[in-house]
């Protein structure tokens, strides 16, 4: 065999071979990514079935008059507090501390929520009175139908602090 021939094969063969090698490696990577994707998709938290979720998510709290202004009522099943402001508006506050997720009890005497874990405190609107909690308590949507207060616990609403538009007010029919 002469020198030229060898050079030729050395040029042609490796390039085809290296292409195939690269192809295999590429396919291997794609297979790996698919595998990882399957595992993650498999482990992803599932949403509860729609009918179940809706039935449980909306909690009927009770008629408007049964909640005194400037009072806080706990709803264990819905895991929230219904807080009625002094001006009669309603807020549904999540009972989970925004710091590390402990359950905050309402301390009637001191008129505030006090987290037992790291001593964060929140006022009746859910605003932070003392850190380490970084944000006001999360809220749920409140709506009032036929003078009955209902809370949609399906979606947690995060907020950094209390603002007036977060409050839901009952309609006043006989004031005019």
């Amino acid at each position: 065999m002469c020198k030229q021939d060898k050079a030729k094969t050395a040029e042609v063969e490796p390039s085809r071979r290296s292409f195939l090698t690269k192809l295999w490696i590429g396919l291997g990577f794609i297979a790996l990514i698919e595998f990882i994707w399957v595992v993650i998709a498999f482990l992803r938290p599932r949403k509860p079935r729609l009918s179940e979720a809706n039935a449980e998510a909306i909690i009927t709290a009770g008629p408007v008059e049964s909640f005194a202004p400037a009072s806080v009522t706990a709803f264990v099943r819905g895991r929230f507090y219904l807080s009625r402001q002094e001006d009669g508006g309603f807020l549904a506050l999540s009972r989970k501390c925004t710091h590390l997720g402990c359950t905050v009890p309402w301390v009637e005497k001191e008129n505030k929520f006090e987290c037992p874990c790291h001593a964060s405190a929140f006022d009746i609107t859910g605003n932070v009175i003392s850190p380490p909690a970084p944000r006001a308590l999360d809220i749920y949507k409140v709506f009032i139908e036929n003078n009955i207060v209902k809370v949609d616990t399906d979606k947690l609403i995060k907020r950094s602090e209390f603002r007036a538009e977060q409050v839901t007010y009952p309609k006043k029919f006989n004031n005019d």
Binding site: R79, R95, H99, L100, C115, H118
Partner: protein, 462 residues
């Protein structure tokens, strides 16, 4: 071997054990090691100096023995335990009251797991201070870090399984920390919890991790770790600081010189754990109640250093940025450029020892002062009301601490005219001791509402 006089029994025996079961001479011992699946992970001979107990303190071997104990007792517990929120706690009660030796087996599992965390931590510290992470052991340091991480995961996932108040709230707090990781935090938290809150899905996930995934990883990585020790020709050879000349290496056979010593350590350890488990019961509180947080609610003890950081820094820094820096430092440690070969010297040099002492002393004095000062009067959030808390309670104090640490590095380096190795070691000691003090503070000095209090007050809180 002569074919003539073999019995059926000896033929079967010889087919299983290629080497003598009780080797009598050196040749037979060598054969014994090489023909044994487990032992052949070990070097055939090792330098005599490495046998000294105070060189390694037997920590690696103790860790391996503890893992074996955990596997054995864990498999037994698996026969009784039921990973469902409604039944998990009752199955633990059943285990403790109706199953023969149930409480005892649970105690062994519990105490071994907790001791294991301490032992692997000390093992890592030993490897660091004897310079055993330099070539050719660089990558074995990384494998060791992964093993350490796996053991923490194993402990953490096991913590939830009894489903009592202690378990439920510790895991709630720890998984809530994920929220502060920017970007992927919420997603990661949901993945780990299997939903928005700790519930049935979380228990299933934790049980699978604890009883299948982590053990499988450990079983694969541990032999790799040991084999790497073999490839590095045993553990790092100690060198004397007084006599810097290379000592003559006297090799001794692993079987029996090392194996017998390991056996003695393992037996003493097992005896200790059995006695400890007879005397002290593993804790079990009331059944988990998602509506009632206990006061104080604490993370598992090995995360209390981090929880202590949370009391002083904005969560973004306490649970994300500071840990990222620490983990990054540990991973890169074997790959930094070092001035000289210091493998095998305890604390590098006489000067290194003195500097380590000074650093430890500084940390012991400064950390409690800082904790008390931050608790009582330092309040950047109130002093700088215009700034967001991420800066006033996060970036600012972290920068101050970083400046202090860097200042310490420069100062001690200059004062002792030290090498980079020695100064870096001094900083490592400073941070290590501070971290230990933070953890101890979290365990013993945090009472109701996580306020500072004395250990005897912390105890009577519940």
């Amino acid at each position: 071997m002569t074919q003539a006089r073999t019995t059926l029994f000896s033929r079967i025996r010889n087919s299983i054990f290629w080497a003598p079961i009780l080797p009598q001479n050196e040749r037979e011992r060598k054969k014994f090691l090489l023909n044994n699946l487990i032992l052949h992970f070990r070097p055939r001979t090792i330098p005599e100096q490495t046998l000294k107990f105070t060189h390694t303190w037997g920590l690696g071997g103790i860790a391996a023995a503890l893992v074996m104990l955990l596997f054995l007792t864990g498999i037994m517990l698996k026969f009784i335990y039921e990973p469902f929120p409604g039944r998990a706690y009752d199955s633990i009660i059943l285990l403790q009251q109706d199953v023969w030796f149930g409480q005892f087996i649970r105690n062994i599992h519990h105490w071994s797991a907790n001791i294991l965390v301490v032992v692997v931590f000390l093992h890592m510290v030993r490897v660091f201070f004897t310079g055993a992470f330099h070539p050719p052991r660089q990558f074995n340091w990384i494998i060791g870090l992964i093993l350490f991480f796996l053991i923490i995961i194993s402990n953490f996932t096991g913590y939830l399984l009894p489903w009592d108040q202690l378990a439920f709230w510790a895991i709630t707090i720890c998984t809530s920390m994920f929220e502060y990781i920017p970007g992927v935090g919420m997603w990661l938290q949901k993945l780990i919890r299997g939903g928005a809150e700790i519930g049935p899905e979380s228990l299933k996930t934790f049980f699978t991790l604890h009883s299948a995934i982590v053990p499988a990883c450990l079983i694969t990585l541990m032999p790799f770790h040991f084999w790497r020790v073999r490839k590095a020709r045993g553990v790092v050879t100690p060198r004397s600081l007084r006599d810097k000349s290379e000592p003559a290496v006297i090799k001794v056979p692993t079987v029996p010189d090392l194996i017998l010593r390991e056996l003695v350590v393992a037996l003493v350890l097992i005896a200790f754990i059995l006695v400890f488990s007879i005397i002290f019961n593993a804790p079990l509180e009331d059944k988990a109640n998602p509506g009632l947080s206990p006061n104080p609610a604490k993370a598992p003890w090995y995360f209390l250093g981090m929880q202590e950081l949370l009391l002083h820094f904005h969560p973004l820094f306490a649970v994300f940025i500071i840990p990222i820096f620490v983990i990054g430092f540990l991973i890169l440690l074997p790959y930094f450029k070092y001035d000289s070969d210091v493998t095998g010297f305890w604390f590098i040099s006489q000067k290194g020892r003195r500097m380590a002492m000074v650093s430890a002393f500084c940390a012991v004095i400064a950390t409690p002062i800082w904790i008390i000062a931050d608790e009582s009067f330092i309040d950047f959030t109130a002093w700088l009301p215009g700034l967001p808390t991420v800066i006033s309670n996060g970036l600012l104090p972290v920068v101050i601490v970083a400046v202090v640490v860097i200042g310490f590095y420069l100062l001690i380096k200059k004062k002792y005219a030290a090498t980079k190795n020695e100064a870096l070691q001094a900083v490592f000691v400073l941070l290590l001791v501070s971290f230990i003090i933070l953890t101890l503070t979290g365990i013993w000095f945090r009472g109701q509402g996580m306020a500072l209090s004395w250990p005897w007050q912390v105890g009577v809180m519940e």
